[in-house]
């Protein structure tokens, strides 16, 4: 002990006090400077010299400025995006962003893959807490109310006025715009929008003695064909409706088909416990327990396209956004159809919109708008739909040559588009994330046999009312 103390003293004496103090001060200063730098990293360090107002046809400026390396500061944008469906979508987004960066020298977008929709919302909420939001992000169209409650985003009306006829909002599908509008303003631009569709293994249909192009139109027909397909031994299971991930979304489709939507009147009410929802949940449970065409338990959302493409199941309910991946992976002909009806056809829309955040400098908001305009241009909307399976967000995209060619070759891609005629907005409202989890939990509780459908739905409604009481 004393030896060590002495040693320390000697080492200490070897350093002259001044040096030691300097060293400490230096260390402290370095540390603090580092911290400050970290805290301030999002503040714009560049003088406001950029003029990105020219919008999507800003290339001449960039070309003329290219030889001169001085001046023209770049506006740096951070872009958060999720991938919610099957397939290598993050590569595609990165390619789009690279193209944008090349054609827009004044703006540099850094794309940041942030997991699925839930984790993307999570990351944005966390960033908002720290007052460092991304500049632009793709979030669920249903996150609108939450983002409004947090005063996190800016309306795009001013940009729309400024863009004039170059960017006509009424060109976008009205079914998708429903989730963009609130308080008399428009807050987001539809980007990767979808509906769930029915995927069918046509080889299994043929084996079961059905016309492979005549997909089941009703719930009962679906069960009948599924049973027959299972009897042929060609597939292990008849149908899979996932109960994790976006479980509430598929369940909402069943509820609409049975006659009543899950959304209530306005953002502070929901209709979880109705005759229609009980019918829907009973059917989901019966599919596995009494009709035995579906595996028991909570079927995994992300494993479902794989199960289908591997030929294990005759029918699956999944997002149309998974179409490209399923077509690429399946070794059998794939049929796509409307979700079968009970009382009526019905589906929620789904997917993500582009939002611009409030707590960033005006020039970055402007640059973000340039980026959004570019990302949602008709040609690109068509290409994105072709590459993924998402529904083209605007009508002019349907007129493009690439889309016409594509649909001629891949008629499956039209189904979700046609289904929009029967669509409702996805379950939304205040605390939409929590509301959606309540529905997913209720579905899981019922399909795993922990609660009766009645009990599960009544519990969900009661808990939702407790949460929404704060907003009434």
């Amino acid at each position: 002990m004393t030896d060590m103390a002495n040693q320390g003293m000697r080492w200490g004496a070897a350093l002259r006090p001044l040096t030691r103090r300097q060293m400490l001060v230096g260390l402290a200063a370095g540390g603090i400077a580092g911290l400050l730098a970290a805290c301030r990293s999002s503040a714009p360090a560049t003088p406001a010299t950029s003029s990105t107002g020219a919008g999507s046809n800003a290339t001449p400026q960039g070309a003329s400025a290219a030889p001169a390396t001085v001046g023209r500061a770049t506006v740096e944008l951070t872009f958060f995006y999720p991938v919610g469906v099957a397939g290598p979508l993050s590569k595609l987004i990165q390619q789009l962003v690279d193209q944008f960066n090349q054609s827009h020298p004044q703006v540099h977008v850094t794309a940041s893959f942030t997991g699925d929709y839930t984790s993307t919302t999570t990351k944005v909420l966390t960033a908002l807490n720290a007052h460092q939001p991304p500049d632009v992000a793709i979030l669920l169209s249903t996150d609108l109310q939450t983002l409004l409650d947090l005063n996190a985003i800016v309306p795009i009306d001013a940009f729309l006025t400024q863009a004039g006829p170059d960017f006509a909002l009424d060109d976008f599908q009205p079914a998708f715009l429903k989730n963009s509008q609130a308080q008399g303003k428009t807050w987001s631009v539809p980007f990767q929008r979808s509906t769930p569709v029915l995927y069918a293994n046509q080889a299994a249909l043929q084996a079961a003695g059905r016309d492979p192009n005549a997909l089941p139109q009703t719930w009962d027909e679906l069960v009948e064909v599924a049973q027959r397909a299972m009897q042929t031994g060609k597939v292990s299971w008849g149908v899979e409706i996932p109960a994790t991930g976006s479980a509430y979304w598929l369940f909402q489709a069943l509820c609409i088909e049975a006659g009543h939507d899950l959304n209530g009147d306005g953002p502070a009410s929901v209709a979880f416990d109705t005759a229609a929802s009980r019918t829907a949940l009973h059917w989901m449970v019966d599919l596995s327990r009494t009709m035995r065409v579906m595996p028991t338990g909570a079927i995994d959302w992300s494993a479902t396209p794989t199960d289908f493409a591997a030929g294990h199941v005759a029918f699956v309910y999944h997002s149309t956004g998974s179409l490209r991946a399923i077509l690429n992976q399946a070794s059998f002909p794939v049929g796509v159809g409307f979700l079968p009806k009970r009382e009526q056809y019905g589906t929620p829309t789904g997917g993500g919109n582009l939002y611009i955040f409030r707590e960033i400098p005006a020039e970055r908001q402007q640059a973000a708008w340039t980026f959004i305009q570019w990302m949602t241009a008709p040609e690109r909307a068509a290409q994105w739909a072709i590459d993924t399976g998402y529904v083209p967000t605007r009508r002019s995209a349907l007129e493009t040559a690439i889309w016409r060619d594509y649909v001629a070759k891949t008629p499956q891609a039209r189904v979700a588009l046609d289904q929009l005629a029967y669509s409702y907005p996805e379950l939304n409202g205040h605390q939409s994330g929590q509301l959606q989890k309540l529905v997913s939990d209720a579905v899981q509780a019922a399909v795993t046999g922990q609660k009766s459908p009645e009990q599960a739905l009544a519990d969900a409604q009661r808990q939702a009312d407790q949460i929404l009481a704060a907003y009434r």
């Binding site: 002495n6 200490g12 947090l150 028991t296 605390q431 899981q444």
Partner: protein
């Protein structure tokens, strides 16, 4: 304290020395204050306030957040899940760790292979481990399912889809990692056994059992306490497994304490409630640690 050679004014030099001491401690203290004390105090402060998406500005709420927890069935379910997770993994990890360590020590010809088998789960990133197991546990055609079918088990084994087996499945994956980790410490303990004591006991005619009970276990006791504490805390803090494999489902069957805190705070934006949950979690961890500290003290009584 040694006196400097030139002692003009002893108090000045002493003051200077203690200032140097303070200055040396300061960076460390600043780091602790910034990254431990400040978050702790602010956590306590937040737990006494209401702050969520409906009320973005924090407002004094007294113990309302804690009262809400007491009335929340999900909180009790999550607590039960976490304690079950500890019960399923900790004793098994401690016991298996000792067995593995013994095996590693005595599997002479294939020692390297055995070591590799038991230790490689630890060096793999937990998220990869969870992803790989998610793949292995795929119903119908996953490896585990196939092996079970081949052994004559049920045609469709869906451990993660079933609310009754999902927690068990995640616990087994956690155990798969944790047992190897425990084995490292047990191995160190085995190496530290005093051969003189063993030899003396043998000379006195001690059999294998007596040797284990009265000579080896008392020496291994502190290691055991440490391994048990480490395993308990790591089970309480399990997060990556459920995040990757189940997201807390089905119907919260695998919703563990830390995942629930995470979801409450970050997904649902309920800051006050999440802070209250964290305070409860802190107390839980503190209690576990205290039990083990007491266990460490009992060592004297055993020898």
């Amino acid at each position: 304290m040694s006196q400097p050679a030139t002692s003009r004014a002893p108090w000045r030099s002493q003051l200077r020395q203690s200032l140097v001491g303070v200055a040396l401690v300061l960076p460390g203290f600043a780091a602790i204050a910034l990254f431990t004390l400040y978050p702790l105090v602010s956590l306590l402060w937040l737990s006494l306030h209401r702050q969520n998406l409906a009320h973005p500005q924090p407002r004094w709420a007294g113990l309302a957040n804690f009262a809400a927890l007491a009335h929340d069935p999900l909180f009790w379910q999550v607590l039960r899940n976490s304690l079950c997770f500890v019960a399923l993994t900790t004793p098994a990890a401690v016991a298996l760790g000792l067995v593995f360590a013994w095996w590693m020590e005595h599997a002479r010809p294939v020692q390297a292979l055995v070591r590799f088998c038991f230790l490689h789960p630890i060096v793999l990133p937990p998220v990869s481990v969870a992803s790989v197991w998610l793949f292995l546990l795929t119903p119908d055609y996953g490896l585990v399912s196939r092996v079970v079918q081949w052994l004559g088990g049920p045609a469709s084994l869906a451990l993660l889809r079933d609310a009754r087996t999902a927690l068990l499945a995640t616990a087994l994956v956690h155990l798969w990692r944790q047992a190897g980790f425990a084995a490292i410490f047990w191995l160190a303990g085995l190496h530290a056994l005093d051969p003189a004591l063993t030899e003396a006991a043998r000379l006195d005619g001690a059999g294998r059992w007596a040797l284990l009970r009265h000579v080896w276990l008392p020496q291994l006791w502190p290691i055991g306490v440490f391994v048990s504490a480490q395993a308990t805390l790591s089970a309480l803090q399990a997060f990556d497994m459920v995040y990757v494999m189940t997201q807390g489902g089905p119907n919260n069957a695998t919703n563990l304490f830390l995942f629930h805190i995470y979801e409450t705070q970050f997904t649902f934006g309920d800051v006050g409630q999440a802070a209250a949950l964290s305070v409860v979690f802190l107390l839980l961890v503190l209690a576990v640690t205290l039990v083990h500290v007491v266990g460490l003290d009992r060592r004297g009584a055993m020898t």
